[in-house]
Amino acid sequence: MASIDIEGIRKSFGAFPVLHGVDLAIRDGEFVVLVGPSGCGKSTLLRMIAGLEEVTAGDIRIDGKRVNDLAPKDRDIAMVFQSYALYPHMSVADNMSYSLRLRRSTKEKIASAVSGAAAKLGLDPLLERRPRALSGGQRQRVAMGRAIVRQPKAFLFDEPLSNLDARLREQMRAEIKKLHGDLRATSIYVTHDQIEAMTLADRIVAMHGGVVQQVGTPLDLYDRPANLFVAGFIGSPGMNFFEGRYLVSGDHADLKLENDVTLPARRVGGIESGEPATLGIRPEHVVITEGGALEGRVDLIEPTGFGIIMHVTVHDVPLKVFTLNRAMLNPGATVRLDLPRDKLHLFDGEGRRLG
């Protein structure tokens, strides 16, 4: 178990910069999830922590010890690959015990570690099989087993569930969470999946273009996204945005859109009247009500089973609404909507959060 400190990490492949100075302090036992669009450098960061990529600049410390120059084998971390990377010529048991054999652990110790991990993951009946003879979900478990047998200082996961079907993914997600509850091992987890990020993380690190955009608990990122990128990236369906000018009148504030329509906004500091701003509201926070202030033309209805996603147009601006009200399956040509003030997010011209 260990803390991991990342200070001013940069990475370039040749002249092509990928990470532009990442700082991150991960506490002992914490579960941190890295999210971000494809190509933003998540895997690269993870691989640098593992020692698989050279560090261009900056420091990585594990338990306070600088590990930049240590080979992967000397860092005492475990990693679960997206492809699982199981050794095809070894049985499941040998796959799991390989790290211990390399460390010349005693036979008894190896046997007990393997059987302990196998029991935790339900791999007992599979121990003698080759990876080839396993299903995707079973392979995934073996990859996890290989990581936990030697009780490393930290676990790294690079999209470990992305090759599984939705049902299995749900199940493994719960298992990983349970496992982390048992082992309390420091973990860094890369994913594209919002739900994985929200459910597993103690803290989420949102990245974009090689820069960390926001670090915080899942609810922090959902409730108070630090900028437009995080606001748009977290949550599904994604947040609605309106661009316009911020106009203050008394203790009131409004957003004036290009087509001169005004939407109600909140009074916040850090912005002058007349400056450009963006207003955001999550689809699930838009209220459909008889007396709503806005009229929306219904374009499309997407029932998800659990709820309904409605695509409407308000003053020529597209807007998504999420509702649990089944009556909205047949809403008629128009609906009346309200944007509750306390659910609004405001961003300045640079996309930074206001208030």
Binding site: A50, L52, A71, K73, H89, Y98
Partner: protein, 277 residues
């Protein structure tokens, strides 16, 4: 449609058959001559099978000639060359497949250029270099020369096999606690067994057949390999074709066996390389 497909299938099988006949007929002729008694050799020269077949050439070659020595020498030389080349080519092929380093392109270029040397040009210099070291007239000398000649192609072959193995595997091993070399030995090499077989077979066949250097670096029967030995059947006053062909058939056996076993992997290995582009 059905009949067209049938006609197509028949034409396909016939074409394959025709090629097999073309490939095997000369070998069949070799066999035919080797079992033809000397007195029928010319009188029944163009018959497909002699009216009286005999194994006398074989018994003579095995019992009364130096051929068993040649055979043993060839086995030693080809075997040692194959093993040495495969080890060196695995290491070099791994470096080319997995590392990015400055001299890489120079190494590739050097290896390609070696394929263009007229080998005849190297005979005299190599002789001059090996003779003070006592490596002429010795099997060791031959193994060294053959190894050098075969390493470049074998390296490319091994590289294409390594390219077909995902990098994840040795990264996982390195995180599990292996150095890169241990990952190479314990994870990557076992997965390249088909490639190793292909390289072994390829080099074995090449070394088994080499004539020029075997002729130039070796004098006398003790260290002669079988291609040189075969020529001794010619250089006598009367060429004994029956015995020579019998010896040739015997000598073909190991090379062919080896080749039949590995040709599958050869295709596989080159496929792996092709996938990469």
């Amino acid at each position: 449609m059905r009949t067209r497909q049938l006609a197509f299938t028949v034409a396909h099988r016939l074409a394959i058959l025709a090629y097999i006949v073309f490939a095997l007929f000369p070998l069949f002729w070799l066999l035919k001559v080797s079992v033809t008694p000397n007195d029928l050799l010319y009188s029944e020269g163009v018959r497909m099978w002699p009216s009286r077949a005999t194994l006398e050439h074989y018994t003579f070659v095995i019992a009364h000639s130096a051929f068993p020595t040649f055979f043993k020498n060839s086995l030693i030389v080809a075997g040692s060359t194959a093993v040495t080349v495969t080890i060196l080519a695995s290491l070099a092929g791994y470096a080319l497949s997995r590392f990015r380093f400055r001299a890489k392109y120079w190494i590739v270029a050097l290896m390609l250029i070696t394929q263009m040397f007229p080998l005849v040009m190297l005979v005299a210099p190599i002789f001059k270099m090996l003779s003070p070291l006592g490596l002429t007239n010795s099997l060791t000398g031959l193994v060294i020369v053959y190894t050098a000649f075969n390493v470049p192609f074998a390296t490319f072959l091994m590289q294409s096999f390594f390219d077909g193995i995902p990098k994840d595997l040795e990264e996982a091993a390195m995180i599990d606690g292996a150095t890169q070399f241990i990952a190479f030995r314990q994870i990557i090499l076992p997965l390249t067994l088909p490639g190793i077989a292909a390289t072994l077979g390829f080099v074995f066949t090449a070394a088994w057949s080499e004539l020029l250097f075997a002729l130039m670096l070796i004098s006398g029967n003790d260290a002669a390999t079988f291609p040189v030995g075969l020529l001794t059947f010619v250089s006598k006053f009367s060429v004994d074709f029956g015995q020579m062909m019998a010896a040739g058939i015997l000598a073909l056996i190991p090379a062919c066996l080896f080749f039949l076993l590995i040709q599958r992997y050869l295709v596989q290995g080159l496929t792996a390389g092709a996938v990469k582009g």
